[in-house]
Amino acid sequence: MNTAGGAGESGVGADEMLAMLEQMTFIRRFEEEVQASFQRGEVPGTTHLCIGHEAIPVGLAAALGPDDVIATTYRGHGHVLARGADPAAVAAELTGRAMGLNGGRGGSMNLTDFAHGIIGSFGIIGGSMAAATGAGLSFRGTGRVAVATFGDGCANHGYFFECLNFAAVFRLPVLFICEHNLYGEYTPWEQVTAGADIAARARVFGIDATLVDGMDVRAVHRHAAAAVARLRTGEGPVFLECRTYRFVGHSRSDPATYRPPGELEEWQRRDPLIVARDALHDAGVPESVTGEAEGTARERVRQAFATALASPFPEPAVTR
């Protein structure tokens, strides 16, 4: 666990913090380009963006080692990028190209890259929890960690309860990360979810569960790093409920009219990019330095999409 001082109480050093800001900025610009490409018709089907969630994939990825794995969801582009998948191959998958992570077979909802410890993005709610639970079985006694990410909506699914219990009774090294963004599709979470928080549900299984500020990459990183350290000793699953907000609609062109007025703006004031930038400035890092993240991110995104779009579609080989 990183204990170097520099960027405030979090225990994250300024260099590491700067790297995380760069990653978050990159994911933000990448997702914006996905949306723009979708509107231009270059990304077919549907997409679910993680704009607003960036602190979670970035804070988490910084706490994981190369042998750890993650199972994420259709809203997992950020996790896939943060774990180090080739951005051009991600863009290529979203645009259905042969060089895509899945050869164009899976698309946005199924990004998979075993070489970078991404055992799958799951389009079925709850699928990620089960996959990580099973990975936890394989990893018993090895020090390796399996992570599941999922939304608040998943907390009402059978998978949720069954997997938490399963992981708890077998003391599996699984980190469960709930990305709680207040909505499941168009439905506010409190309309369909009993109880005050989701972490409490994990606690009834004896699982160590914490509510985390999912807009602050320092907080996510700190809790994830502590959880991973604990998981490596074989102490059984950990649950983090990261409170966050998606700044865009659920998918495609959802205008998100179900939100109360002002809610988005309130959360945008705690935009994870702003929170990180402010922390760096407070720690004495000049704006000239934090500002560089922007240009780097845009250039990486431009290259990724240019490479993807210039690459060929897969050749169908149909045998009926």
Binding site: I125, G184, E185, T187, Q191
Partner: protein
Amino acid sequence: MTEFRAAIRQALIDELTADPSVLVFGEDVAAAGGVFTVTKGLQEQFGSTRVFDTPISELAITGAAFGAAVTGSRPVIEIMFGDFMALAMDSLINQAAKWRWVSNGQTAVPLVVRTTVGAGARFGPVHCQIPGTWMQNIPGLKVVCPSNPADAYGMLRAAIRDDDPVVFMEHKRLYLDEGELTDAPVELGTARVVRRGGDVTIVSVMKGVGDALVAAEALATQDGIEAEVIDLRSFRPLDVATVVASVEATGRLLCVEEGARTGGWAAGLIGQVAADALGSLDDVAILCTPDHPVPFSPPLEDAALPGPEDIRAMVRERLGGA
């Protein structure tokens, strides 16, 4: 003219109006009106006691529909995508389908599961499957699938009035098709001959019916082949008799299935036709999807799905350019 999805909405409105025991619930069906806006406005019209949003809990939704159905309600639930039927199936298969029979007739199980199925929208391998065949082997279930707005309207009304559990599949590429609605009742489990022809029988369902009709027109005008086209309309009950009657005249049967060959409805139908009318058969063929999940990438997905040109080509090939 009414859109397919509006026809479904109209059937729900009519049945909610006619029978106060009808309930409509599912994920994002009420306030938002469904991801394909099929159920838009129903909650405003009928209130949140009868039309409501549920948690993301497919098993509980379906299981609760069963419990409600055996205690005086007539639930119409939505499973957002047919692929998620896998999560609902225990309740359907092990409870809903069995209870009338296992209770020795003490109860009916009047529930309907509406679900969106079918590929072609670039939604990838887990938002495109047609789960009808998964449940075709279960006595006690009805599994139906309209191909046009009139049938969507008539069959959904019949499904809601039916005393047995009905899975009602809606192909997402039909939602914007238009047609006239009628009040003519539709008997669930009956196929419909949609085009007459004496040279070959083409059987399909949902989107495949329109494709078969397009192919049949091309075959007639350009190849001199007259195809009879049958819309099966139902996976279970399976109207083998209508197909047999057609095949007795044409001698040739082509089934066009958006799904895999092994375990598909086409293979099962052909088996039953052979069992009943082997002597009438000169040729049988299946045009289906390849033996892998439906891919996301547009050229891959397009190649995987049978379309009018594939149907025409197969008929020409099998008939030797007759």
